[in-house]
Amino acid sequence: MSVVLLRRSFLAGLGLAVGGFALGVIGDAHAAAGSTPPPLAPGGAPGLHANVFVHIAPDGLVSIVCHRSEMGQGVRSSLPVLIADELGADMARVKVLQADGDVIYGDQNTDGSTSIRNGFENARKAGATARTMLVAAAAKRWSVKPETCTAHDHAVFHPATSRSLGFAELVADAAKLPVPSASEVKLRPRAELKHLGAELPLLDGPGIVNGTAVFGADVRLPGMLVAVIARPPVVGAKLARYDATRALAIPGVKRVVEIPAPSAPYHFKPLGGVAVVATDTWSALRGRAALELTWERAANDVYDSARFREALSAAVNKPGKVVRHTGDVDAAIASATTKIEAEYHVPHLAHAPMEPPAALARVDGGRCEIWTSTQDPQTAKAEVAKALGLDPKNVTVHVTLLGGGFGRKSKPDYVVEAALVARAAGAPVRLQWTREDDIQHDYFHSVSAQRLTAGLDASGKVVGWLHRTAFPSISSTFAPGITHADAGELQQGVLDFPLAIPSVRAENGEATAHVRIGWLRSVHNIHHAFAIGSFIDEIAHARKADPRDVLLEIVGPPRIVSLADLGVDKLSNYGTPLDKHPIDTGRLRHVIERVTDLSQWTAQRKAGRALGLAAHRSFLSYVAVVASVVLDPNGKVRVDEAWIVIDAGTILNKERVRSQLEGAVVFGISIALHGAVTMRGGAVEQSNFRDYPVARIGEVPREIHVEIVAGEGLPGGVGEPGLPPVAPAIANAVFALTGKRIRNLPFDRAGLA
């Protein structure tokens, strides 16, 4: 455990005790903890070990493990509270520990908006198991039936006789009881979960605002060195030769370490290059700048974004692999009164988390210990073990706070780099990525082209819909010979968008990757929602109809959409069976209706201001967005107000859901206005926020209105589903305001941002 109990929080409200991250220099005493950590409370601490998530000390202090990574979505302020709530703990006597990477916690990959939707029941069971043991101990003491007892406020009560015993008084007895089986553990009625759906305090807030919160680059070890790597400009390029004489002459530079270029598929392997190891970051950077490097030519030298755009366009202008099919699209479009066609392009995007990747590694005597900001410590551990030839049980990965993740920090190439360099240097090494490294060597969001065609009958109703999409697949990063997207990628808007249209066909065109393609917040929903959301608006304007009415007509009446309705054999549905999380157009319609009511969609707008609407289901949640845009005196688009409504079923922490949606609007503004990574000669043309801008404070609305639909159904995702409808809502607003249709992101290429 890389976590210690700090002082009590000064937070009002719940008074959550702050289990902050251990700060600063970690002493040698800690070095011994280089093996797989024990489940909880290392050193055989006394008390009740109900399971790997809950420990109660003899003094009643409850320790709860957060097994997912904190990257701003608020998991540390949410999931442990649910466990405590189910237990009946007083939040002032709970501390939160951050789990190291270990399979004992189940899946720790903080990705796919899964922490609450997949962790909700397990968290409740973890808390309920501990409660069941405490209640059993009290009931035995009182010779009453356990079901006549209740647990709340850190104590067990027997209401019939007005007796109570605090958790501290029960721990010793409860610890002697067998851990109950799953069938013996009963969850509380929902009404007893007093924090469920509440506005919970931010656990790490105080440490963040006073500078003591610890991120990946903030951990320090005695004798630690710092390394930066000069990586090949083109993925897969090998080092022909290098001369480090000048680099090694720079004061503070200790040594250089060559890292071999990987072969494709690149997976989570380091990109290769030359690491410069120095006493401090600045000396390492100076050393890197002084390296003389010559790279061999590489197959990916051919990658040129302008030419690739043409290739993608060609791919969607001819028949592709049919992936969704109902009715007879060709006949429907051929016999249509009106035919509407449009082609949409979205470029590569970089994640650009505010904290560039960083990892600290210590390799010593067949063991490796890592401190890093990672979304997926188990994969980091496995990859480090593989790279060093160690048994994974001899690799420990401690998880710090993440300075943003957005999918980038699920890919532990930088952690493997740290381990390799630390081993070669014979000292602990912090491997630091610069912003330039981050923008140029990312696992990029895939570049895409889409062509949509609709046939309308004489009344304007859409009778045929053809959607072609082409983009290099994420699978290309992990397997050779990939030329098409897989079903898990195509479900993200192409296979699953409900269309009340008799004839629908979706096709996937060929596309080959020349860079590492990865997942970025909401993944392929970004481009698919942009195209679908924009195209529905185009249809509405062609019909001179209200875009909201047309959107509701195309989504169709409230219903549960079957696979046959969609025209697919199966749907991965974000890893969840459709009977648990069906595609429910009633819920999609409801968020559309709510967001248009809130934004007074039908009211007359002031001159110079216009609204745009889009809606999308992703990660099992339903989101609709209305954006209001104005043009500034220079003719640039500014989003001056936004409304966003989510139906994510049951929500745990209302405050963090709200903040995630506010953040999604801003992230979407960055994508709409600015986001573009382009390649020339196989190398990335951008390098820092100067040429890869993200939204600044003056570019975001003064007000972002968030509404969360109250629901008691299974939880859906929250971190990602807010994002997909944002860019199309803005583009639709721009059309309403200016008559200019943006089909190519970002807007700044059209001079509008």
């Binding site: 600063g24 105080p206 605002v209 500078g211 960055s670």
Partner: protein, 163 residues
Amino acid sequence: MSITLRVNGAEQTLDVDPEMPLLWAIRDVIGLTGTKYGCGQALCGACVVHLDGEAVRACVTPVRRAIGHAVTTIEGLSPDGSHPLQRAWVDLAVPQCGFCQSGQIMTAAALLAKRPKPTDEEIDRSLAGNLCRCGTYTRIRAAVKKAADESSPSTKSGGGKIQ
């Protein structure tokens, strides 16, 4: 060479190249890690510290420029995290990932020192150089105003202080 700095009120003697950016002197040499590296080119504001109360970007400020000036980092903004901005930031749950927030707070603190009651436009202008990828900007604006209200003597004496 040996350089003496005054950081958060304490004298520090460092053996560093005078051209080393103040950011790395603070983080790597002094060991105060609340000041963050985000871009290295004065584009993101994660590294903002105060030199004699002025907000500067430590990533492009050579350490020699800090000689003879009072350096304040986020750790030294208040003794116990009680600066009105720090309290407002927690009350309004501004941070998401939190990485940019020390730079945001240090920039806002320099603004409030000069303009105790800034307008939205002044806040936007002052914080234009501070990026937040999580998108906490609307709450940052609200928190700066809340801190301004709570620091204002007229509000305090009026008894209408928001808790």
